[in-house]
Assembly symmetry: C2
Homo-oligomer: 362 residues x 2
Amino acid sequence: MRDLHDLHVVIPAGGAGTRLWPLSRASRPKFLLDLTGSGRTLLQQTWDRVGALVPPERVHVVTGPHHADAVAEQLPDLQHLLVEPSPRDSMPAIGLATALIAQEHPDAVVASFAADHVIDDAEAFADAVTQAVVTARTGRVVTIGIAPRSASTAFGYIESGDALAVPGASDARAVRRFVEKPDAATARRYVADGSFSWNAGMFVTRASVLLGHLARLQPTLHDGLGQIASAPAVDRQDMLERTWPSLTRIAIDHAVAEPVSLEGGIAVVPGRFGWDDIGDFAALLDLRHDDSPEDGPPDNTVWVDADGLALSTEGVAIAVVGIPGAVVVHTGDALLVTTVEHVQQVKRVPARLAETGRDDLL
Amino acid sequence: MRDLHDLHVVIPAGGAGTRLWPLSRASRPKFLLDLTGSGRTLLQQTWDRVGALVPPERVHVVTGPHHADAVAEQLPDLQHLLVEPSPRDSMPAIGLATALIAQEHPDAVVASFAADHVIDDAEAFADAVTQAVVTARTGRVVTIGIAPRSASTAFGYIESGDALAVPGASDARAVRRFVEKPDAATARRYVADGSFSWNAGMFVTRASVLLGHLARLQPTLHDGLGQIASAPAVDRQDMLERTWPSLTRIAIDHAVAEPVSLEGGIAVVPGRFGWDDIGDFAALLDLRHDDSPEDGPPDNTVWVDADGLALSTEGVAIAVVGIPGAVVVHTGDALLVTTVEHVQQVKRVPARLAETGRDDLL
């Protein structure tokens, strides 16, 4: 039996996903898309996973004003939708939700899971979250580390240290340090070492612990969030609009996880499930290969001395000739052609479009 | 002053253009398309060029039943439209038109120009045709040879011999031989030699001379065409439908040009104009580079570490990342992605689609 009575979940639903252009657009970012072909969007899949752990009244989604309607539409059972006036990275978003939760539930444990990640085993996810919650109750900030499937240079890594011997969380270890996205040689060394896991940006902590760290490490941000959270409900949105632009723009990794890890205050539990943040089309191609032998109806795609990813949201037939590792993505008004080797450069396309005033294509 | 009073022109409008899929389709082949972006289709451009030389009553277009309506629509002044029940290569089509012309104009000179070639200098074209007509009046079959711009392996070549000293056709020479598409080394040798020109499939001959060669070299075909041409006008289409399937399927090159060249009966005049049959997307790319510095509105195409040909008949924005020499062609229902190096393989796409029953995409 899992005891998660004190768990509240924050789902930050943001991120531009410019490396997934033209699928991911400013008006329809990655989390609003059904990238896996499951019939549910990434946001809805996240909701489903979380919904197996806590009731809707303990789930908070934070998103931007342009996506609030779409989020509400995709999640009809959502009760707590927090609209941040502008993107200020993850710490203000998670911090505000945490401050609001703490007002009503001072002993709450808060877990934050991004809206646009893919996890292939909900049961293993629930097991990891359960161990993380148990560990968080001891006063640590806990992250869930993903066993590396490859020496990826696309993710940051977490180096784990000694086992913590937390009752009910036998896999929990201290975090020695967080490291930024490594180069290929370093990544290979990390994977060979065995004590490194991928940083999937999942954090589980008592609300009071996180706010305490914030008060100490980012006092201005902490106070700003406190002002918004403590405003009477009727004035809160006004206060949010006024205060938000002045808040420090910072990721939770830099604001809390990294400095606190140096103090020994971070723990990691292993996530024994397939995970991906689908950062680019190479990841999407991998995912589709894993899930199904074929991309859609085979009659609609012709590969001649070629392979890769070919998809059209409009059902247009796609033929690729002589390009191994091709990536062809067609939406109603835009078409991307590249190869697996160049998927990281795709973000330059929306950048170029923005320069030339083609905001309609962003 | 050009004297072309006896000139009649045949425009065979056929050919599948499968290497230009998905632009060129069974229902909308190359000659019906405005591939050069001039505002006129290739057929219309051919009509315009020919119209500067002869009046409409001396122009015959031969096409298939599926394209007759489109041809008539594109050429409102066309008076002679010959519909061949099925494609049987160029000799039956040109031969039938010639037989019909000869019935009313026994002394006619007949010139045949394909409907889907691009010529960049109508004046130089007219000069070459005039010399060819003058030479044809001497009883020779005359071809117009194109000075090679490169050692192309996509075309057959014509080796010229001695000058013929025809009054009014000072450039006319005897043809020593026709050679098939050569390999690259041979093509380079031909171009270096200086006496080889590209075979553009343009033939100019007295009707009686062509029919005489045909009677001798392809008697069955000659008699079949004679039966159709001599049928009373009201019965002619019936006779055509009945006789056509039994006619020998053969190109004019093999039926007449090659054997007669060995007898010394063929002459060549040089065509001093840019010419292309736009056989594949590499040719189309060259053509567009020649014509204009940019492909369409620059804001609708984004090249990142890439170049090539990108076009969408639907105005879809196209971004290409990391593929030099890319070829991206989008029509309403189909999308081709390849590179300049692989354009010859494009014909395998419609072949594959036919195998899988996707006739809607052919």
